[in-house]
């Protein structure tokens, strides 16, 4: 029997970064319907920074969490509706709202060293009858041993699955293999991987994760996502099929969703350019990309200088305000010269 790999499509959440969170609820419903019909197992939706993410800090979304949840939940027939929650940004209140709209999966995302701020949200998700997934962001910043320690914390809170997430698209297949293998050996729950393509390694890393034992991986149609985007769902489905894995996704249908529904809604081509490459190279949070481009223009500095400096300062996910801080400082230095 072919080994089953569960695919979580996050076009409607990570992809929101690439459109500055401007999908309308109708856009989301249309894409979600296509994903559902193509046989995608789990569909993640919402602001790029998860529930409660709509803000000055991360950009205001076109609609509210509730409007997106309502639109998507009304069209899903088989796929599980999934929401992302970053403790410190979203709260238990928003998770309850998601459950009300029939969200079946909650991914609780923390920086890779801070799993303990997600304990209360994992427990609430369980109480609400949801599948609870611990999501360790920026996993490239620490050793496999540290990732294991934090994955075990999530397991101890009752998480059903744990994710090793490469938020900066900074890992190589070797890095992914080491982390997935170590976590797989240490926990008794399934393990997932979320990749970014800043170093053109999203597909290679997804495969490395699967070969190292990952049970589920993320993708987005057309690769739409923060930085240079994610593993491209439709390509992933084709590649996994060729390699003899089973995903339950219809290849032609998912290709059609990507090309005919998602592509026309894209605001810019999803490519690796000097700025997204700098994100992967410097190891900074993928969603800093568009914020850095705007700050670079406003303060008259090079976006790459901002990104590299953010890497040096060991910024973590969510610190978008540091972009303005760094850009302001760089511009002051420039003036002084």
């Amino acid at each position: 029997m072919k080994r089953h790999i569960r695919i979580v499509d996050t076009t409607l959440r990570d992809g929101m970064h690439a459109v500055s969170h401007q999908f309308t609820p109708d856009d989301m419903a249309e894409i979600a319907k296509g994903l559902d019909e193509a046989g995608i197992d789990t569909i993640e939706i919402g602001h790029g920074d998860g529930l409660g993410g709509s803000s000055f800090q991360y950009g205001f979304a076109k609609a509210t969490d509730e409007e997106y949840l309502k639109a998507v939940s009304s069209v899903l027939k088989n796929a599980k509706l999934d929401v992302l929650l970053l403790p410190g940004i979203g709260t238990k209140k928003e998770l309850e709202l998601a459950a009300k709209y029939n969200a079946k999966v909650a991914r609780v995302a923390t920086h890779v060293t801070e799993a303990d701020i997600g304990e209360q949200h994992i427990k609430l998700a369980k109480e609400l009858g949801m599948e609870a997934i611990g999501f360790l962001m920026m996993s490239h910043m620490v050793s496999p041993e540290k990732v294991v320690e934090q994955a075990k914390l999530f397991e101890s809170y009752g998480a059903d699955k744990v994710y090793i997430t490469d938020s900066a698209g900074a890992m190589t297949p070797k890095d992914v293999t080491a982390r997935i293998k170590a976590v797989k050996e240490a926990v008794s729950i399934p393990v997932g991987h979320h990749a970014h393509n800043n170093l053109s390694l999203a597909m290679a890393n997804s495969l490395a994760a699967i070969e190292a034992g990952a049970d589920m991986v993320d993708g987005t149609c057309k690769g739409l996502g923060a930085g240079a985007g994610n593993t491209q769902t439709e390509v992933l489905v084709a590649v996994l099929d060729k390699l003899g894995y089973e995903t339950g996704v219809d290849l032609y249908k998912i290709m059609d969703v990507a090309d005919d529904i998602v592509a026309p809604k894209m605001k810019r081509p999803q490519v690796i350019d000097k700025n997204s490459l700098s994100i992967g190279y410097a190891g900074v949070y993928g969603s800093f990309l568009l914020h850095s481009l705007r700050a670079a223009e406003k303060f008259g500095v090079d976006a790459r200088d901002i990104l590299v400096e953010l890497g040096k300062r060991k910024t973590v996910g969510g610190q978008e305000d540091m972009i303005v801080d760094v850009a302001y400082e760089l511009s002051q230095k420039k003036e002084a010269i």
């Binding site: 803000s55 000055f56 800090q57 403790p87 410190g88 940004i89 709260t91 238990k92 209140k93 920086h111 060293t113 801070e114 303990d116 701020i117 304990e119 209360q120 300062r313 060991k314 910024t315 973590v316 969510g318 610190q319 305000d321 540091m322 303005v324 801080d325 302001y328």
Partner: protein, 295 residues
């Protein structure tokens, strides 16, 4: 010798100890007693060494002691809910450093005058103490419709209480941005950063305003920063207000005084320094009232 008001601290943890060191330099408060519930507590041992009365029998060891007028509660939300009515009945003023919020939220540079007679005041959150003064300053000159703050603190300075109840931080701070800061709507975000060496506390304050007069906003913010610096010397304006349309972005940084806790934990420092400032104003008022009675 100048007369001082006697006070006690409940909770000899990090916050309680930092506060103890700060109160040792107070002009108006004489710290008398530090109480906890663990006999072998390191904090109680340190308090004894510094010459204060101590007890591991909790709040009951200070109830009935009429000399103690002000009690700082640095325990937790649940214990404070029990302590608050007992302190009130005993005629003691409670300065609450927990998230219990029995009494009104107080930021010393913004609304302390309104609550000087309250039997219980709450110190909001560290993020609230660092950002609400800026929101209030901007609100005075520009009318704040929406305030959003992002508090970034070092992982090392966030204790287990904050971590397990991170929603309390965001919800309390958001509410206080409205109630004390004067914003019509409020939102708070907290981020923990594990970088070594630990980062200073930094806060970004975004506001959406009705009258975006850059000069007035800048002056109001600079004046407010100077006011906060009087009780928190490590409070600094990192990026002065940037006005883009109706959006105003301001950034501050808080370096701790390093009394008991390391300098990077500016988040804890601003909480204890603000509690001290509130306690001193209340103590000063008690002293003035006492003088009036004698006259």
């Amino acid at each position: 010798m100048k007369k001082k008001i006697k006070a006690a601290i409940i909770g000899p943890g990090n916050i309680g100890m930092d506060l103890m060191f700060k109160l040792m330099e107070s002009e108006y408060i004489e710290l008398d007693t530090v109480v906890g519930i663990v006999p072998e507590s390191e904090g109680l041992a340190l308090a004894r060494k510094k010459g204060f009365n101590t007890s591991h029998e909790g709040i009951k060891s200070i109830l009935g002691n009429k000399e103690i007028k002000i009690v700082f509660d640095a325990t937790g939300a649940k214990p404070h809910l029990m302590h608050a009515p007992l302190l009130k009945e005993d005629g003691k003023i409670a300065i609450d450093l927990t998230p219990a919020a029995v009494g009104p939220y107080v930021a010393p540079t913004v609304n302390l005058d309104e609550h000087l007679d309250s039997p219980n005041v709450n110190m909001i959150t560290c993020g609230g103490q660092a950002t609400i003064p800026i929101v209030a300053a901007i609100n005075q000159v520009a009318d704040v419709e929406y305030a959003e703050i992002v508090a970034t603190i070092s992982s090392k300075s966030a204790g287990p209480g904050t971590r397990q109840n991170i929603d309390e931080f965001t919800q309390t701070t958001a509410k206080a941005l409205q109630v004390v800061g004067g914003a019509e709507r409020g939102k708070a975000i907290i981020i923990l950063n594990p970088a070594e060496p630990p980062i200073m506390m930094r806060d970004t304050i975004y506001t959406k305003v009705k009258n975006p007069d850059e000069k007035k906003i800048r002056e109001a913010v600079e004046n407010m920063v100077a006011k906060v610096q009087q009780h928190v010397p490590g409070y600094r304006l990192k990026v002065p207000p940037i006005v883009e349309g109706d959006k105003v972005t301001t950034m501050v940084e808080v370096e701790g005084a390093g009394h008991y806790l390391p300098k990077y934990s500016g988040n804890l420092d601003i909480e204890t320094a603000s509690a001290k400032a509130v306690g001193e104003r209340i103590a000063k008022k008690l002293l003035e009232d006492a003088v009036e009675e004698v006259l």
